[in-house]
Amino acid sequence: MVRNMHAGRTLAGVATGALILAMGAVAAQAETYHYLTAKSMDGPVIKAFIDVVAEYKQTHPDFDVTIENIPDRPAYLQKVKILATSGELPELFDADAEPYFEDIVEAGLVANIGEIFDEIGVTEKFIPFTLDYERFDDGSLWLIPFEANVEYFYYHKDMFEQAGLELPKTIDDFLASCTALKGAGLTPISVAGKEGWPMYRYLSMPSWRRMGNEFLDKLKVGEESMASEVGLEDARFFQELGANCFQQGFASTDYTTALNMFLSGQSAIYYVGTWEIASLLDENKALRDDIAYFKMPIIDGNDVTGPNDFYAHSGIGTAIRADAATDELKDFLSFMVERFGDISHNTYGGLPSTKIEMTDDMPAIYRDILTDMAAVSDYARVWDVKLDAATVDTLFRQSQLLGLGEITPEQFAQEIDRSIQQYASGQ
């Protein structure tokens, strides 16, 4: 009997211990968030994010965020889609406000960031366009922006001098610059044609100047045709770039190779966003002596967008899984919005999505960029985010062929229209 009682007590002790351990594990698990990101671990966003988490942990020792990074964007997107399909999305993950993410939102899998930001009172702390970029067409916001990017044409000053060139003000000037650079024995532009998005930026420039975002907004739902005069202007411009401006074999060049071509002086012009600014600066955080930049050229006086309106966005955003938007995480978000901008910019040289003060000791390039950001009245939407995935695949194939001169602008337009019609009829 005594032996039985002893055994019973032991059993009860073990059970209680196990229960405490289990509760501890649940509690610890509840405060450890998993963040699946496509952002570079070496970039200012993730470095600053890690620092913010470390600072927050000083007052909240049980809180933690583990980061899993997949820098290859297609591989990342594939993983997110598989996780979403199998109901295993992490607490935090990166996404663009594209049609598939819209499906994730409709399935009720993520939290409404707009409502959370209003609830914790941080909306006003963001640069407005960084929030707007992540919004859906209905104005709802489901993604946290972390960076503020504007995109420029960077160029080698000595190469422009060698070719006797002034800065191109119009798209015609820009094409003429290519001819002059080519005539001087230089490769005018290096572009990563294996990536897709750099091609779409060039492709969309004429229609952005002619119609602003109206063209893309109507095109994606089949209310505008790529075979319209404006659409064909895009296609003709891109074909001319492929014939006279891009490096040989652009269709098989990846992002790093195209960037390195420019940095090592093998091409005169490179178009990229300010997320790549660190590669273009010297040790004093000034733009390298041989490099300068210009904004997207205009077409003529009939443009609906001005010289100060160009590509500005906040890159890939971050979503919170619906059940992970706890009071604790909201408290962390509130803390993060306070600290992130300062750490991102002052420690790592980033351009954060939250407003930062422009100071006299700030490097000139950053002051110029912030001035440009403030001057943007309308910014160009990104084609590969707004169009459906099947059309983006078609766009990728057809843009390569168009740039290589394998198809005509009319054939290009026909293929894009057909893909959009298929999507629109399926919807």
Partner: protein
């Protein structure tokens, strides 16, 4: 109870031994194929509810110009790739049995491409074939005075399919070398000695004695190589991503894009089922052809 007449064991004993492998095979092959077939009969983006659409996905394949081009490319990739792998593999195996010295060193050198990862081999060839910045092959052409032949090989839509087929074959021909080599060295030496005494020269020994004796190995290799090339994916995907345009798109790369980039699980599964049926049919035809040859030969 029925018994195996030869061994005297109950008839279910055989099934008991087969069961582990059968269960595993069913779990990782049969069920996924059945599941893919189910998905192929509907529309599903992975999040919403699966919606039955009947054979629409299969009908859409007929109208899909990208799929048709991928299919044509795949036929080229399989035929040319299989031919290169079998012929070069056999040539390497025969050359190996013909040399006495340094055979092991040569064998390792031949086998090296097969153990390097596909991604690494693809990247090596992308760099070799690059035009701007100039890669090794264009540089060599220029230095040999063949500057007019330099070009962006991987952006030339009439060359990309041939290039990815050749690189894929380069990687895998060593596998067939190893298979043929082990078959050739295991041949009965008395038969070869008798042939030599009868005055058969090296070529006659090869074509009239050695190859007919390893005919079963060759038949199995043909099945392996054809089914392997029909499912070819990694090297074309890494080198060109199926492009430019659809110039090097294969059925498997297109299936991957449809499934994981477009999240069109219905149509992607229909393409997957097409691949399964295509492989089964072609393998059946090859086996039939070889068994007919064996009977007549």
């Amino acid at each position: 109870m029925r018994k195996n007449q030869l061994l005297g064991t109950p008839s279910w004993a055989g099934w008991l031994f087969v069961a582990p492998a059968l269960i595993m095979f069913t779990a990782v092959v049969i069920i996924p194929i059945a599941w893919s077939f189910y998905l192929s009969l509907g529309a599903w983006n992975g999040l919403s509810k699966w919606r039955f659409t009947g054979g629409v996905n299969y009908l859409n394949m007929l109208d899909d110009t990208v799929f048709r081009q991928a299919l044509v490319n795949n036929v080229f990739f399989s035929l040319v790739g299989s031919l290169i792998q079998l012929v070069i593999g056999m040539t390497m195996a025969v050359s190996l049995i013909s040399i006495a010295k340094f055979r092991n060193i040569v064998r390792v050198a031949y086998f090296l491409p097969a153990v390097i990862s596909s991604v690494a081999i693809s990247q090596i060839f992308v760099q070799l074939l690059s035009a701007d910045p100039e890669g090794f092959i264009n540089g060599m052409l220029r230095s040999m005075g063949l500057g007019e032949n330099t070009q962006p090989f991987l952006s030339n839509t009439s060359l990309t399919l041939l290039i990815v087929t050749t690189v894929d074959a380069y990687k895998f021909c060593a596998i067939y070398m190893a298979i043929f080599y082990s078959a050739l060295v295991s041949l009965d030496q008395d038969v070869l000695a008798a042939a030599e005494m009868d005055g058969a020269n090296r070529l006659q020994q090869l074509f009239l004695i050695r190859l007919p004796l390893i005919w079963a190995t060759i038949a199995a290799s043909v099945v392996l190589v054809v089914s392997g090339t029909l499912r070819g994916f990694d090297i074309p995907f890494v080198m060109t991503g199926g492009g430019p345009g659809t110039s090097s798109e294969l059925v498997s790369t297109y299936m991957y894009k449809t499934l994981f980039r477009q999240s069109n699980f219905g149509y992607g599964s229909a393409i997957a089922i097409f691949l399964v049926i295509e492989c089964l049919l072609i393998v059946a035809i090859i086996r039939k052809a070889f068994s007919a040859t064996e009977k007549t030969g």
